[in-house]
Symmetry: D2
C-alpha cells in the first residue's frame, strides 16, 4: 500500500443484496464514499470538519466497472486513492476486492468544491495542502 | 376512501428486493414516507413548504407488521391516514396492499414537531388546522 | 419522443436526500433501473418475465454525469433509450430532467446477459428481436 | 455484556443521512440486521449457512423507538440480543448508542422461519439449539 492509499473493510449487508442474490450495483457508490470518508480521516481531517469549514465536495461524475459480484456476509476491501487534484475539483479512484483478493469492481468519482450555498469555489489552500501533501493535520 | 385518506401507487424497484427475492423490510419505512408526502400535498401543503416555514416532523416511532411479501415490478398501493394529532406530535397510520388488494403490510409512525435547530416545539396553529381540519390551503 | 424512448416520472423521496439537502448520487442508478423496467414493459415484456425465461442482465458498467442537483418532492423525468445491442450485451442511455426541463443527469449502463446460474450467454433470439425491433409482444 | 449479547460497531455513512442532516430513520432496520448477522456469526453459524441449510428468517414485525439522532461519520454501537425463541419464530432486541454511550434507538424485530419456497416451518432442532443455548458450533 502506497502512502496515498486508504484501505476500508466492510461486511456485505443483506439489505445490499438484490433478487439476483448479489450486491445491487447502486451500493458501490456508497462503498466508494465510505472509502473517501476513511481517506479524509487518514489525512487527519474528517470530511464533516471539512463541511463545517465551508468546503463541500459535490459529485460531478461516477464511473463503476463491475468484474465479479459480491455476496451477503462477505468481507470486501475498498482501496481508495486521490488520482487528481485541480483548482476547483478532485478525482478519487477506487478498487474493491473480496477477501480472496479477487477484483470485484473498479471506479472513480469526480467532485467539485462548493460552499454552503452550493456555489462552486476554488479549493481552499489549507484543504488543497491536505489533499495533495498527504500531510496529516490542519494548519 | 374516506376524506382523510390518501392513496399512493408505487412500482416495486429491483433495488428494493433482496436475496430472498422479496422487498427488503427496510423499504416500507420509505414507502410510508412517500404516503405522508402525498397526504401533505393532498391537504394543500407540500412537506417541503412545511419545512420552509420552520416545522419539521422528526420520526420518534416506527412500527411495521408484515403479512405478505411484495415482489419486483408489482404495483403496490399505500393508504395513509392521520390517526392522532396532539399538541407537539402527530401519528400516521399506513396500509400497503398489492394490485389484487391482498394486505401486505400495516404500520404506523409517530412524529414530534421540531424547529430548524432540532428543538421540540408546539405544532404551529396554521399547521395544526391543516392536519386536523383536512381543509386545503394555507392561511 | 422517438419510438425507441421511454419516459418515467418519479417524485423525489425524502429518504433519497442527504445532509447536503440534495438527492444522494447513489440513487440515480436506481432511477435508471426504474427507467429500464418501464422500457421493457413498454416493449411488451416485463423484465421479471425476462428473468422467468432465463435471461438476466447483469450490470457491467455504470456511468453518471451530474449537472444539477435534484431536491425533495420535485418531480423528475427519466428518459431511457437502448443505445446498443450486441450478441451478449446491451447498453442503455439515460437523461434525467426536472419538471422545468433542466438537465440534471446523463448516464449509461452496460449489461451482459447471464443465465440463472450467472453464466454469460448469447441474448436469446426472441429477446434480441424485442430489444432491437421495438415490436411489442413475445413470439 | 452478558454472554447472549453481541456488539457491532458501524461508522455512519453520508448516504445514510437525509436533508434534515441526521440519519434517515429507515436505515436503523438495516443496522439491526447487521447486528443480527454478527450475532449469528458469534454463535458459530453465519446466517448465510443458515439459508444454505434451508432455514430463512422472514421479518414479520419491526419496531423502532427513536430517542436521539445520529449524524454523519459518528461511530455507533449496536447491541443485539435474542429475546424470545418460539417453535417457529424468534424475536431480536436492539439498542443503538453513540460513542459517548448516549441512547439513540431501541427496537425489536420478530421473524418467522420459512423454507426456500417461503413456507412457514418449525425451526430445525440444530438451529433451535444454537439460538437458545448460545453454544457455538453446528452439530
Amino acid at each position: 500500500m502506497s502512502s496515498g492509499e486508504c484501505i476500508t473493510r466492510l461486511r456485505v449487508r443483506y439489505a445490499e443484496t438484490d433478487a439476483m442474490g448479489i450486491v445491487h450495483h447502486s451500493h458501490y457508490a456508497t462503498w466508494f464514499e465510505a472509502g473517501r470518508s476513511d481517506l479524509f480521516r487518514q489525512k487527519g481531517l474528517g470530511y464533516s470538519d471539512c463541511e463545517a469549514r465551508g468546503a463541500f465536495f459535490r459529485v460531478t461524475e461516477l464511473f463503476v466497472r463491475f468484474s465479479q459480484p459480491a455476496r451477503y456476509d462477505e468481507e470486501v476491501v475498498i482501496c481508495t486513492r486521490i488520482s487528481e487534484v485541480r483548482s476547483r475539483g478532485v478525482t478519487f479512484w477506487y478498487e474493491v476486492r473480496n477477501s480472496e483478493n479477487a477484483l470485484l469492481v473498479t471506479g472513480h468519482t469526480r467532485h467539485i468544491c462548493v460552499n454552503a450555498s452550493g456555489e462552486v469555489q476554488t479549493i481552499p489552500g489549507w484543504l488543497r495542502q491536505i489533499l495533495t501533501g498527504g500531510q496529516p493535520g490542519i494548519p
